[in-house]
Subunit: 456 residues, 2 copies
C-alpha cells in the first residue's frame, strides 16, 4: 500500500486552481495524479470531458448484485491568494505541529485521500471484495460545479449506487466527529431598479420623481417583519419539522453562544423565534442581502439622484422547501411591491435544493430507508465511537453543497457526510492545513464502513 501522507503531499503540489485559467497545467497534473492513484489501487479509470474541467470516474466490482458505494471528491482547490500571508508556500506541503499545511490539504485533497487509502488497503486485503465502488471526482467544486448537472443527467446509470460517501464537511474538534445530516438549499438573484435615464443633480431635479435607492430600500425593507421573519406569504410552508433528537444533538455541539458571539463579533444575536444562533443557522431558512449598490460610492458627497440601484439576494432553504417555488415567491413579492415609478429587472442566479438524511433508529427515520444505507450509518457510528472515543453527532449544516441534493434527486442516493475538517483548518484562507491525527484515524473508519457494506 502507498503511504497516504506522502501521496497527499504529492497531490498538494499539483496547483489545481479551477477558478484561474493560468493554473491549467496544475489542473491537468492533479487529474493525472488522481487517475494514476485510483488506477494504482486497481480501479478502472475514465476521464470524462466536460465543457470545462474533466470529471474522473473510477470503478471496481462488476457484479450488479453487490452493494454499490459512490465516493465523491474534488481535485480542484481555491486560489492561494493572498500568497504573502502564507507562512510556507501554499503548494509546498509542510508538516508542522501535527498538521500538514498547503492549499487543498483540508479542502478536499486530505479528506479525499482518506477514502482512497481505505479502499486501497481494503482491496489489498480482500481482492475479491463483494462491493462495487465508484469514485466520482470533479474539478469544478470551487467554482459551483457548472458541469456536474449535465454529467449527472447524461451518466445517470454509470453512477447509480446505494449511497454516497464523502468527506467535504466539518467537525467541531478532533475528538468530536460530525456526520452532516442536512444542508440548506440556496437560491440567489439580483434585482435592479431603474428610474431616470441618467444620474441627475439632486438640487436641480430633487423633488420631482422617485429616487431608485429610495424605492429599493422600501422594497428590501418590506421583505422582513420587524421580528426577522421573512415577510412573504408561503415562504415557511412545507418546512420539515425539526425532530427533538436533532435539537438534542445540536446542544452537544461544544461551542457556547458567547464563544460564537465573540467569533463573529456581533453585539447580539437575532434568530427566528428567538432560538439559539446554532439552531437559527441550521434549522431555519433565511433571506439575506449579500450586496447593495447605487449612486455615488466615493469619498464625501456627490449630490446625485442615481439612475439605478441594485440588490443581491440569497435565500438559504431547509428541507422540504421547494427552490423553484421559493424563487417564484420572492420574485413575485419584488414585482408586486415595486413602485411603478421605476423599472424592476430580476436576474435569477444559482439554485440548489436543501437536503436532509435521517440515520437509522430515530423517530423520524423513513420507514423505507435502504438496508445498505442503514448498515453503513450503523457502522459509521460504531467505528467513529470506537476510533475517536465519542459517538458522532448528526447535525444539519447551514451551508449548501448542491451536489448532495442533486445526487439525491437525480439518482435517489443519500449521502454519508463524514466531517473531517476542523475550524482551525482555515479552508479557503491562507495557511490552510489538515489535522494529521484526524486523517490517520479516519482511514480505518472509512474501511469499516466499506467492509460492513460489503459484509466482510
Amino acid at each position: 500500500m502507498f503511504d497516504p501522507l506522502e501521496k497527499l503531499k504529492e497531490y498538494i503540489r499539483c496547483q489545481s486552481v479551477s477558478a484561474d485559467s493560468s493554473f491549467g497545467a496544475g489542473m491537468t497534473q492533479a487529474r493525472d495524479f488522481v487517475s494514476g492513484l485510483l488506477g494504482g489501487i486497481g480501479l478502472d479509470v475514465e476521464v470524462i470531458d466536460t465543457p470545462l474541467h474533466p470529471i474522473i470516474l473510477a470503478k471496481r466490482g462488476g457484479d450488479p448484485s453487490w452493494p454499490h458505494v459512490v465516493i465523491y471528491g474534488h481535485y480542484d482547490v481555491q486560489p492561494p491568494d493572498p500568497v504573502d500571508l502564507w507562512t510556507t508556500p501554499p503548494f509546498e506541503p509542510t508538516e508542522r505541529d501535527g498538521r500538514l499545511y498547503g492549499r487543498g490539504a483540508a479542502d478536499n485533497k486530505g479528506p479525499f485521500m482518506v477514502h482512497v487509502a481505505a479502499v486501497g488497503s481494503l482491496l489489498e486485503e480482500h481482492p475479491d471484495l463483494p462491493l462495487r465502488i465508484t469514485f466520482l471526482v470533479e474539478g469544478e467544486e470551487e467554482i459551483g460545479s457548472p458541469s456536474l448537472e449535465g454529467f449527472l443527467s447524461a451518466c445517470k446509470d454509470c453512477i447509480a449506487g446505494d449511497f454516497v460517501l464523502l468527506s467535504d464537511t466539518a467537525s467541531p474538534s478532533e475528538d468530536q466527529i460530525v456526520i452532516t445530516s442536512g444542508l440548506r438549499g440556496i437560491i440567489t438573484l439580483e434585482a435592479e431598479l431603474i428610474g431616470a435615464s441618467g444620474d441627475f443633480h439632486s438640487g436641480m431635479h430633487g423633488g420631482a420623481f422617485l429616487n431608485p435607492i429610495q424605492a429599493l430600500t422600501g422594497l428590501c425593507a418590506s421583505l422582513h417583519h420587524e421580528d426577522g421573519r421573512v415577510n412573504i406569504d408561503g415562504f415557511y410552508d412545507d418546512i420539515v419539522e425539526v425532530a427533538p433528537w436533532e435539537r438534542e444533538e445540536l446542544s452537544r455541539l461544544g461551542t457556547t453562544e458567547e464563544e460564537y458571539r465573540e467569533f463573529v463579533g456581533v453585539r447580539k444575536f437575532k434568530t427566528l423565534n428567538d432560538v439559539s444562533p446554532f439552531e437559527g443557522i441550521r434549522f431555519y431558512p433565511t433571506l439575506e442581502f449579500n450586496g447593495i449598490g447605487g449612486g455615488y460610492q466615493g469619498e464625501g458627497s456627490k449630490t446625485v439622484i442615481p439612475s439605478s440601484a441594485f440588490v443581491k439576494i440569497s435565500c438559504r432553504l431547509v428541507a422540504n422547501q421547494d427552490t423553484d417555488r421559493i424563487e417564484k415567491l420572492v420574485i413575485a413579492a419584488l414585482r408586486d411591491r415595486c413602485p411603478d415609478d421605476v423599472t424592476l429587472t430580476v436576474k435569477p442566479g444559482q439554485k440548489g435544493d436543501p437536503y436532509l438524511v435521517v440515520p437509522p433508529g430515530r423517530p423520524n427515520t423513513p420507514s423505507d430507508q435502504s438496508p445498505v444505507l442503514a448498515r453503513a450509518f450503523e457502522s459509521t457510528i460504531e467505528s467513529v465511537t470506537r476510533v475517536f472515543g465519542r459517538p458522532p453527532l448528526f447535525l444539519r449544516e447551514g451551508g449548501s453543497v448542491p451536489i448532495i441534493a442533486d445526487l439525491h434527486r437525480a439518482l435517489g442516493m443519500d449521502s454519508i457526510m463524514l466531517g473531517l475538517c476542523l475550524p482551525e483548518d482555515r479552508l479557503h484562507a491562507p495557511n490552510e492545513s489538515l489535522h494529521l491525527g484526524v486523517m490517520k484515524k479516519a482511514i480505518p473508519v472509512s474501511r469499516d464502513i466499506l467492509k460492513s457494506v460489503a459484509g466482510v
Copy 2:
C-alpha cells in the same frame, strides 16, 4: 473700452481648473488676467491669499455715503474631461452659430465679463460715478468654496455692501430671463452600519444575527412616508409659505411637464402633495439618497453577510428651514431608529442655508427692504423687459449656491441673480458654450442696474 468678446476669449484660454493641481499655472494665469482686467478699468485690485486658491477683491469709490454694490464671480472652471467629446479644444475659444465654445464660457467667465464690461463702460462715461463697487472673485467655486467662509468672517467690513449682483444661474431661453429669487439649502451626511467583525458566509452564519444591509434598508425606508413625505417629526416646520405670485410666475416657465418628463426619462413624477414637478423641485425640501453600498458589488453572486453597509444622504431645504436643526433631526431619527444589533456612525458633510429674496411690490415683500435693493430690482425688471422684450420671471431654483446665503447671513446682503446661462449651454459638460446674443444684451442691463443704483 475693451472688446468684451475678445477679452472673454483671452480669459477662456486660461486653463483654470481648480479641482486639479496640475492646472496650477492656468489658475495663476486666470487670476492675473482678472486682476489686470479689473485694474484696467480703474479699480484697486487686491489678491488675497487663502489656504488654497487666492480671492481677488477689486474696489472703486471711496465715499462711504455712496451706495455699494458687490459683484460676485469665480475664475475657476470645471475640468474639461472627457476631452475627446469636445468638437473644438476646450481651452481654444471658438465661435460657431452665434455661440462661443470653450470651458468656462458660460460658467462663469462669460456672465462675469458682462458685469466687467458694464462697469468698464459706465466708468468711462462717468469717471466720478457716485457708486462704490467691489468685485469679489473666488477661485474655488467649482470645488465647494472651502476658503470662502474663513474669508467672509475675516474680511466682513471690506465687502459689506447694499446688495450682491451676480450671474451664475440660468434662464430657460434667450428671450425669457429669470431672476433667481430663492435657492434651496443643503445638508449632506453619510451613515454607516457595522454588524459582524468581518464578512461572513451566508450559509455557515446566516440566521444568527442581523445583516447590516437589512438594518440599513429598514432605516432608510423609515425616512419617508408612502406618499413621499419625509417621515421625521418637525422636518417641515418653519417653512415659508409659497406666495401665490411665485406659483403664477412659475407657471410661465415655458416648459411642459411632458417635455421635462422626457428630458429626465422617468415613467412618472412623484411630488409632495402632488404638485407639479416644477413646484416640487423649487418649493419643497427633500431627503434624497445619493449613494448606497455594502457587501458584494461584482458580477453574479457571492453569498456573504457583509460586515457593514453605508448610505449617503442629502437634504435640500427651503426658506426658512434651519440647516443645523434639520441636520440634528435627521441624525436623531437615524440614531433612534437604528436597531441596537448594529453600530451606527454618522459623518456630517457640507451645510448651506436656503435663501429667499422677494422683489419689491409683491404681497410678501419685507416691509424693511432696503431702498437701494428695491431700486436695483426695479431697474432690473425695467431693463430686462426693454432689452429682452419680456419681463423677467422671479423663480426659485432647486439647487444650492451656499455663498448667497452665507453673504446674507454674514453681511445681511441680498443678491440679484441675473440668469444668463441657458439649458443649451452645457455647463460642466463637453462643448460648453455661451449664447453671444444673451451676453451682448445683458451688458446694458447690468449698466442700467448700476446707473439706477448710483442715481445717474
